[in-house]
Amino acid sequence: MYDSDKIIVGILIFIILMTFPIWYNAFTGKTGYIPKPKIEPKILADKKQCIEPKDYIRVNHGDLLKDWRESVVRSNNRVYIASDKKRYNMSLTKTCMNCHSNKLDEFCNQCHNYMGVTNNCWDCHTYQKEMYPEGA
């Protein structure tokens, strides 16, 4: 192979750069990091259930919120019938955030940051704790 020394060094540098995140996390002890979306103790104490089973919500909350959005904005239908036939007001800020009031860093963003999934809900939708954390 011509220029084998250069090529091999090049490949090595490439591999090191590509795998840098792995080494970085390994040396800073972050490989075992698991996102922990926190639910406020008060909610857990009340044994309150989410509007749908946890497993369903974990996978489908994005689709569910999109369905709600279309339904409310385009058709003005505001009542959601859950699988257990309970009825809910389809509102991100008034229904979801009622329980998950520790929105930004402790709940949504735990997984969203970990997975690198961004959303732009909060560009427009307002939320007391985020806008006026000290209470206004």
Partner: protein, 257 residues
Amino acid sequence: MELDRRGFLKIAGLTVLGLAAKPGWDIVSKVKPAETLPAPSPFAGKKWGMVIDLKRCWKKEDCIECIDICHRIHNVPSFGNIKDEIKWIWTVPYEKAFPEHINEFGDEGLKIKPVILLCNQCDDPPCVRYCPTRATWKREDGIVMIDFHRCIGCRYCMAGCPYGSRSFNWKDPRPFIKKVNMDFPTRTKGVVEKCNFCEERLIQGLIPACVEACKEKALIFGDLNDPESEVRRVLKSNHVFQRQVELGTKPKVYYIL
């Protein structure tokens, strides 16, 4: 074991098929409990309209109470410059609002009187025809709505609106809102906004905030399809005019002078 090329391909193919079975089944069998209760459409058959009585409006000079309350509850930012200005309800001099009513011998004072303008909620809205994403549409009760989720910020609707009723968010408006009203979303950079005839209040059985705020009762709001409504009564007993009717947009905001 002797394995020829054909045999290998068969086994490989079956393996791939087997591995794909579970994810494939998951896609097809996705349970969807999402079920919604259709709204008991309270606005079916209605057609909201507004009459603005300019004589009453001009009783109190420099009054901006309707504008103030509207912009406050709808989180309309104030950028402090005309280029970025966002407006839902605003005033222009009479000669700009109704240039066809002005003649050279007319009252000079009238020309500079402020005329309240807002989205005309046209019955045949050109903005809706222009919108390439159907982010703006006319609801069954005649309100021209904007779905900010779907707006791509192309501003075709603004070019289409002959009344200049629409404003574009060139910047993130949040830092320019004095006090955010938590019951109403703000907007984001890159979307178009305008007056929504207070549809969020109508659903609660309230009248638009500007109408409520006007102490002189210069703004009259109601259902144009209801012959008994106050707007219909006012429209019947007064000489009313609209802005640029010749364009055929059928505005639902009327003026009395």
